[in-house]
Amino acid sequence: MLVVFYILALLTVAGALSLLLVRNPVYCALSLVGSFFSMAGIFILLGQEFVAAIQILIYAGAIMVLFLFVIMLLNLRSTEPLALKITLPKTVGLAVTAGILAQLTSVFSSPLAKLGPLGDYPPERLAKEGAVQIVGDLLFNRYVLPFEVISVLLMVAVMGAVLLAKRRLPAPPHPSAPLKEGP
């Protein structure tokens, strides 16, 4: 099981790295899809089959297809120069990135991150009741307010996307223009 985890972790990191290094945006999107698939495998290993399923359905399915649609709609050529030339901004960026990695690693390996099994959902209970049922119960009872708020967020996002993707917006009236209707 540990070996499978390491193989999947390697595949995930490989997909992410090729997202970073490949020039063509279509190849970038496809390598990211591969990375998401291996991450879904890791979720299954961690006992969360439902999260793995929605990872594949929503991320690898819906969101990445949206990305591919936009890439092909815009017919982007890879005019980006190859990432081998070393410039000052790139060096600074790599240094910042390395700093973030060091900080995250030190936080995650500190004793603060070792919390131990404090929760009340051990794997046996998960297997008996089913993760989907537990998640649904939490979502609709304890976290019902965030759930409603997130639905409003989704609606606003859909409206914003429709507004932005319309071909031409009518120009708003100038603030100093006189109003048409008097009292």
Partner: protein, 100 residues
Amino acid sequence: MIPVEHVLILSAILFTIGVGGVILRRNAIVVFMCVELMLNAVNLAFVGFAYGMHSMTGVVFVFFVLVVAAAEAVVGLAIMLQIFRNKGTLNIDEINLLKW
């Protein structure tokens, strides 16, 4: 039994690759995909903590992160479509109207 630390370190590595992509890449869509990768790394950390702590709250938060990621992708891609219509490029070095 997978050690929780390894899951968290993997999540940190993926997040860092996403940050590196945001800093180093010049194509706006690829930058956007790197943001998605960062959100996914956070999801992995949530699931890893839920697995280690025998809790389900992290899994519920994965759903919230997922919805935010979807909303962000939809709005961001619509903005990029408009930018491409107006400027004819998605190179973020050339989109510098707000740069002083």
